[in-house]
Point group: C2
Chain length 193, copies 2
């Protein structure tokens, strides 16, 4: 069975037992948001105990506080009433294993999936690359704890972020499933640790 | 119990029974990615049948193909080997109910959560607004099906997207849990419908 058929079959099974989820409304019932990484090993509904309807979940490569993540956070609080935000990055994140120059070079050589060799990522073939990758900031990570602190700080200081929203920072450990706290709370005027 | 305590307690219970998830590796086992909305009612792991380790999940306000979403997609294919992408937006999306001018005005008046009145979103109070919101494109949606088609098209035509990756487009119905197909496949050279 193709991936598309598998996804559609799983969805049909889910919809067949949809029940009272049909009556959920737009604003998150528990009034919070999680910003986390797209990593396949992370399931924020499971690692944080969310049912459908509970909380907003924003995900990108790294769980970074990019401009687009902040767009989503501001909509979440201003229009849909979330009152607490969690930033959850994680161990063994792919963003630790490359930098902007590497990615620019790889994409300039080929758009196809690179191979991970003992020397790092390498192009296996080289048709159809594009230099456009050199003009993008990829938001890679050099130090995971520092990235969480920097991202919480960026959100805290953003001019469109309401100072009453507490922002917590964690690193999720992919070997244990545990959330390890990095930033206990970043409320207005409180120092980051 | 506070939200933070609830999340940490749920996480402790999840980690206590982590089992063989400790051995999952970085590249998604089933080799695909879902781009979807942050909406609290959507749980992509449930609506598409994902276990931890299966697939990348990218989420933002609207499930839009923003520059940051495309950053994540390109990393997903180029470095981590995903070979098929699903764009899943949904009915009753919050992005249908405002526009850039409305959001700019609301934020200029106050950063606090607005009230939804019969006349639309209105500020209940007005301390501490910021005009910065007028300089942001919020990626609101006027027509949901058109947004899916436009976003799949944007991804398809992006210079850093490998033409071999099929891109499927759906609207998830929040009243039924069903994925309704909008774009059957957008492979290189195939017309969009």
């Amino acid at each position: 069975m193709s991936i598309k058929s598998e996804v559609e079959a799983a969805n049909a099974a889910y919809a067949a037992d949809f029940g009272e989820k049909a009556s959920l409304t737009l604003p998150p019932a528990r009034g919070f948001l999680i910003l986390t990484c797209m990593d396949a090993r992370l399931d924020p509904a499971k690692y944080a105990g969310l049912a459908e309807g509970d909380a907003h979940v924003v995900r990108n490569a790294g769980g970074r506080a990019t401009d687009d993540a902040i767009r989503s956070l501001v909509i979440s609080h201003k229009l849909l009433g979330t009152r607490e935000w969690f930033v959850v990055q994680h161990t063994d994140c792919g963003m630790l294993y490359f930098d902007d120059a590497t990615m620019g070079d790889l994409l300039a050589g080929s758009l196809e999936t690179a191979e991970l060799t003992p020397r790092g990522f390498e192009n296996a073939s080289s048709p159809g690359g594009s230099a456009e990758g050199r003009y993008i900031k990829w938001h890679t990570i050099a130090d995971q704890q520092r990235a969480v602190i920097e991202d919480v700080t960026r959100i805290r200081r953003h001019p469109l972020v309401d100072p009453v929203v507490p922002i917590y920072g964690y690193v999720y450990d992919v070997k244990t499933g545990r959330l390890n706290e990095i930033v206990a709370a970043s409320q207005a005027g409180q120092p980051l640790r």
